[in-house]
Symmetry: C2
Subunit: 408 residues, 2 copies
């Protein structure tokens, strides 16, 4: 059995966190100098681990193993959200590196190949899952040409050129090269912590359906317009929010989530009745049928608001991603490995967040393993995971990898 | 009886609307070139009407009559909201001018004095009722020095200097000079129109109580945070709005109004649970007891939200203006005049909006007369009133003025 080196794992994780360090987290946006340096450092680590590693024309890092037998792909992303945590993405990459080293050091595993992948811009500074979409052949040159930084407006092509990656070819997944793909990641929620478990075996990555709801009323004077004569778009909006809060628990599943992330009233002054109001509403679930039922409920509520008047209400879908089921053999291997190293520690659970694995799952068997997030915190510099959970998670990944490769 | 000249009245109103014309309305912010020109034009009109007129150091126009007998003050404001209506304020000023002319032309009224006042910045481009507060001696030099344009940041003193009013003295109301003050104004609501009346006799100007309500929750990932684990500040806010919509009709009076004018969720992204949310909430009523009852209800609802958790909710009063009762003899004179010129046309009603008259009422008997607003529209360039209603309103004002002056 390949045995990981926990001290080496933690040392490399902490070293990586120095690139763009911010308080106890990191600020390492895609293709910032700190991000580019971290990619170059990782290439060096992969080469030291015996892999041939290169950065491609989208900033992805791909590595190949000289092993003669079956190969498993492991990876995640290196860049961070702004002023965010040290483990989000980075952990899955360093787990891959450590598993590759463990396999190389175990004489019984020499023929089994671990290859490590880093997908650029999972955090969406320039687009949506650019690296993993490029790797599965679903990102056109035109998509690359059009992409620009959401915050600064810098074209992606310019950022790639500055990073030194401009003009390089983009690597695409080689069919049948790998038995599967596994991404290790922090949970980003508190399900593991609140249930006392230490290893999350991901069953699926949820579908995310996002909407804009607009209310059109009539802007008027907040002092002289009688209550009965008003067409208050803000009032129509908050009443819809209340109706959602009553209706959604009836149609939602046990793990469904729904969120109103933004509300705007126009013109937004204390003495003016809002003539227009809009909101973002989003829900997530792992079951396509559940997503459809929630959409139907939302459509009915918006329609009822519109029909009841006096404001017009309209619903527009901004995005609808499909849920991705994780490969059952990978789920089984991860659960079995968790049971072996820490009996009773595993919990099967969906991922409420999107991950590169959802794109890889379109081309090959894919799976994910979660470690607990302390306090459920993520996308914040206080994000953290206990050292023991990091070491356990990586060992579970190594053991599951061996099971999967030996079964191939 | 002084008889107004309807054609002359309408001609002057239309001429005034050319200063800063915008579609069928006007854009004449305080101390804009168009506003300053309109003030200079009005001074000329007042002098032609036999009054001594000057612009003072806050931009107010004050005029004095040579009549030997009792005097009545009539006026309103000249500047407009941005891209707003042609009658809001302007009408009350031109009514004063026309009534002064009608008195001068009626040999039986020669001893009765009509004096016209224009109060600067009622619309609040630089502050809150600067002109009328200055005129009643409740605006200090320090207040003037600190005031700045809300939109551009330009200091008031600089704007006054540019307009040519810098360094002039500020006129203050002379005690016992006037038997009272009357402001004519468009209704800005649809009460007259919807009841088929043509003359609003204002009984009081409502108190306006405005609050900021803040909710503190915990910002988190909208995909990975279970519904039960959330502290969604936006959800707490919209539920309070719903609770207000249930509770306020029980405590409010027939003419109370309440408005949520602004809502903000932070950070305001579709995939992030809002960690903080705030809203402006305002209510108005003419009865102090009613205002207090509404405040108690609001306090209870915010306290209940805070106690129920999981978010903290807090309430802060931003302003509480007292309702101002209009002088009963002025109400009676206006109603009697309306009955005389158009039987059954008068309606006693509170003013839901704030007006200069509420400050004048602190120093002398004050009253207001409303004309109908077509469709209840105001603070918009489509604001309008039928010509016949303008002429009737001005004649009612002239007749009531005679009654009040003869009774003095």
């Amino acid at each position: 059995m390949p045995e990981i080196d926990g001290a080496r794992l933690l040392r490399d994780l902490r070293h990586l966190a120095e690139f763009g360090r911010y308080k106890s987290g990191v600020h390492r946006p895609t293709f910032s100098p700190q991000d580019v340096e971290s990619r170059q450092w990782l290439v060096g680590c992969l080469r030291e681990a015996g892999l041939a590693a290169e950065i491609d024309g989208i900033g992805n890092i791909m590595s190949t193993s000289p092993a003669s037998g079956p190969k498993l792909l492991i990876g995640s992303h290196l860049e961070s959200q702004s002023h965010a945590g040290w483990l989000d993405g980075a952990m899955g990459v360093i787990f891959g590196l450590e598993v590759a080293r463990a396999f190389r050091e175990d004489p019984t595993c020499r023929d089994l190949g671990i290859e490590v992948a880093v997908f650029a811009d999972e955090e969406g500074h320039f687009g949506s899952f650019l690296g993993s979409r490029s790797f599965i052949g679903e990102l056109s040159d035109e998509d690359v040409a059009k992409a620009a930084n959401r915050a600064t407006g810098q074209p992606l092509t310019e950022a790639l050129a500055q990073a030194g990656f401009g003009g390089r070819p983009r690597y695409v997944l080689e069919p049948d090269r790998h038995v599967g793909f596994i991404e290790a990641h922090i949970e980003q929620g508190d399900t593991l912590e609140s249930t006392g478990r230490r290893v999350g075996v991901v069953t699926s990555i949820v579908g995310i359906w996002t909407y804009e709801i607009v209310f059109e009323g009539q802007q008027n004077h907040a002092g002289t317009t009688r209550m009965a004569a008003r067409k208050d778009a803000g009032f129509a909006l908050t009443e819809l929010c209340h109706a959602i809060s009553k209706r959604f628990p009836e149609v939602a599943g046990e793990r469904s989530v729904w969120t109103t992330g933004r509300i705007r009233l126009e013109p937004g002054a204390p003495s003016i009745i809002p003539g227009r109001a809009d909101m973002y509403f989003q829900f997530r679930d792992a079951e396509p049928e559940r997503l459809q039922a929630m959409e139907r409920a939302l459509e009915e509520l918006v329609e009822a608001s519109d029909k009841a008047g006096p404001c017009r209400a309209s619903l527009r879908a901004l995005s609808r991603s499909v849920p991705n089921v994780m490969a059952l053999p990978i789920q089984a291997a991860l659960e079995e490995a968790a049971e072996r190293h820490a009996p009773g520690s595993a919990l099967r659970m969906p991922s409420g967040a999107g991950h590169d694995a959802q794109y890889l799952a379109r081309r090959l068997p894919a799976g994910m393993v979660f470690v607990p997030s302390i306090g459920g915190i993520s996308h914040h510099w206080t994000e953290d995971t206990a050292d023991a959970d990091l070491v356990l998670g990586c060992q579970v990944l190594a053991t599951a990898a061996e099971t999967l490769l030996r079964a191939a």
